[in-house]
């Protein structure tokens, strides 16, 4: 397989996953805020910016913390390299370049998703329509993942695409854990109602759509250590950080000359396995540092991976967050 085509397939996998994660994070966020008091609702929109890792850029760009400005930046902004609009054009750009390797039906489905954003525009600020749009886009992207699994040979192109997908997903899980573990409730009185107990841990599970599976596996009410254990260390849940890294490991084993890369993965796995979730759940700062370290290593892995397999492609513009890496045009 051509290195150039492999690179596009890899980025296609990343962008598709990013678009799906973004759509889901936004609709979960919308849904979650409806349960909070007025004051807490307005103060929490900025979390979405933090999850997407562009606090700094946003502050330079606009900085307003209201719903409309933040959604505008996350969905439509051309200045934000990881806006949904730019993510979808990233999907399209890479899709064209690896068209020959992608099953035709899947190609059409991807194309359709990319076109759908053009149809929403200002409608997006209408709550009801936004909900329907985000739901549709998420469903379409899930269908695309299904089409890839069901109709593509498990060949090199498939491996590159899946590596992109799991790398992106691991990154997203780590960001969600980092950002969502912060206390959502600022009005202290209402925060003490039993109805708001553990809101931030529930928010992590909901953002990763892991609530139901958590309940059946953990058999305990939602609490910090169990949630961290589930989303960081679980072996079977596809959004768990460990699961994603484990998948990367098994994909790498099927590729040539990946000993050094595999070593990096092993170190990451060890780090997760050794993490003390009780300590991390107690101490927000330690958790933040830990997640930060995971993200740095994941970013390094992503960089080494692309340099190893796609050495000829133009250098990826280095940004502070691996998410905003490489628009690749």
């Amino acid at each position: 397989m051509l290195s150039r085509v492999a690179s596009h397939t890899y980025w296609l996998g990343r962008y598709l996953e990013r678009a799906e994660d973004m759509a889901r994070t936004m609709s979960v966020h919308d849904h979650m805020l409806m349960d909070l008091s007025e004051a807490d609702r307005t103060s929490n929109w900025f979390q979405l910016i933090a999850i997407n890792g562009n606090e700094k850029l946003y502050i330079e760009h606009n900085g307003a913390h209201d719903e409309q400005s933040i959604l505008e930046f996350l969905v439509f902004s051309q200045d934000n390299p990881s806006s949904l609009a730019n993510t979808l054009s990233g999907v399209r750009y890479n899709l064209r370049a690896c068209r020959s390797t992608i099953p035709k039906a899947m190609y059409e489905m991807v194309n359709e998703v990319c076109l759908s954003l053009g149809e929403v525009s200002q409608d997006f600020f209408n709550h009801g329509r936004r909900r329907r749009y985000l739901r549709n886009i998420e469903h379409q992207l899930l269908a695309i993942a299904g089409a890839a699994n069901g109709s593509m040979s498990y060949n090199k192109a498939f491996l590159f695409m899946r590596i992109g997908c799991f790398l992106e997903r691991a990154d997203m899980t780590s960001r969600i854990v980092d950002v969502r573990s912060a206390d959502l409730l600022h009005s202290q009185t209402i925060a003490k109602l039993s109805a708001y107990e553990n809101t931030q841990w529930i928010a992590i599970l909901q953002s990763l759509q892991a609530y139901q599976m958590y309940m059946s596996e953990t058999r305990r009410p939602i609490n910090g250590p169990d949630v961290l254990n589930f989303v960081l260390k679980n072996f079977d849940h596809p959004k768990s950080f460990r699961f994603c890294i484990q998948r990367l490991s098994s994909f790498l084993q099927r590729m040539p000359e990946t000993v050094a890369l595999q070593e990096q993965i092993t170190i990451l796995l060890r780090k997760i396995d050794n993490a003390d979730v009780h300590q991390l759940a107690k101490n927000q700062f330690e958790l933040h540092q830990f997640m930060d370290a995971l993200q740095v290593e994941l970013g390094q892995f992503g960089q080494d991976f692309t340099e190893h397999f796609f050495p000829a492609s133009e250098p990826v513009q280095q940004q502070s967050q691996s998410q905003s890496q490489g628009q690749k045009r």
């Binding site: 409806m34 008091s37 007025e38 709550h127 009801g128 039993s194 708001y196 958590y214 305990r220 009410p221």
Partner: protein, 487 residues
Amino acid sequence: MTSCWSNYHSPVYDELIDANGKPRDAAVALFNYLDNLSNDELIARKTAADLAIKQMGITFSVYSEGSNIDREWPFDIVPRIIQSNEWYRVHEGLEQRLKALNLFINDLYHDRQIINDGIVPDALFASSKNFKEQCVGVSPPHGVWAHICGSDLVRDADGTIYVLEDNLRVPSGVSYMLENREVMKRTFPEVFQECTVLPVNDYIQNLQRTLASLSENEQPVICVLTPGVYNSAYFEHAFLAQQLGAVLVEGTDLLVDDDNYVFIRNVEGLQKVDVIYRRVDDEFLDPEVFRKDSILGAPGLMRAWKAGKVAIANAPGAGVADDKVVYTYVPEIIKYYLNEEPILPNVPTWRCEDKDAQVHVLENLSSLVVKPANESGGYGMLVGPHSTQAECEQFAALIKKDPRNYIAQPTLGLSTSPTLTNQGIVSRHIDLRPFVLQGETVSVTTGGLTRVAMVEGSLVVNSSQGGGSKDTWIVDVTGRARADEVR
């Protein structure tokens, strides 16, 4: 465009609109929001809500409907609103009530002090269908028998909230409460922006905590025992199992061994069960002890429960307090066990077995509501003002034949709430079923399931009899939480 409120009128107390046609404090945001919607937009939302209910698969089953057993859940898109500070008092009253009822049930199956002290008559239990001899002397964890209680509340014309009945056997409806909120969030996301609606989804965590507190195992295996897919509440059984992370089982999935342990039959082999949240009536629970022909339960369950090897919620025999004659004694029961005044009043009730009361009831049948002591689902009752002469005579005969089995209450002017119908937004009568949990601790749902009689003037809210439901909002208007609500 005329306001959707311009012709609104309630014959009684209305939950959202006061006597001057102004919205109550907690309802102002909703009132204004609906006022700004065109009729078409309102109908579009109704259609969207109906579609959401179909997509989400929220159903209930009606017996004797031939092959079409599942119906979509009937839902009204206008929520019922209660202000948080009023709710906190109701919440306290419900906690008080369930604590007292559990002390009462535990006493009945042990020393019977309340009978010895002459507060309630012994004869009541000799004649009770739901008193189970087989449960005498058993001590379930925390001394709690009724872990999940659904109490029906109604508001009379003067604004007083009364407890109409306590459902302590297998009360249902909580899944609809939770799903109604989901549907509302999908249908009216904007309204949630305008006010602080307290969330309801902590119920699942509280239920998990309550059930888990019945086992010593820190991560207990919990089962929801359902009569099966044809039961009217099967949707709820499946929903709760899914949310709790419990195993949904039918009787035939369970096995009790000679050492009185309960197991489920898994593909990997047998797995020990710690807690059974049963949605099967006592009579069908264990053919070794109760009905021999039952295939809905499992042989040996009672042995296992008595030996303390498995916890059953609600405990067998808990239904003894779910009797409309026992209900009439609840205020005394609260005073006797807790030495407190009841926070929530009972509806004034005549026990037909008392001679004087019976005379009064028979003379005034046409203005009273008569209920059998042990039925649920709104079956077998007489609503005097809405009945024919023949129906009244039929009930007079029934009461004379079996007075112990009947109680009578005045026809309350059940409060109304705005409801969307073909004629626009009109007033319809409603009630409220909150759910109260008791295990190691006690908790109450934030609000509950509001049921609405969809037919004009009708007081029958049961879904099996054509009633609908609404989302129930506890709205915080003060921004201040009550001190003892704080954990």
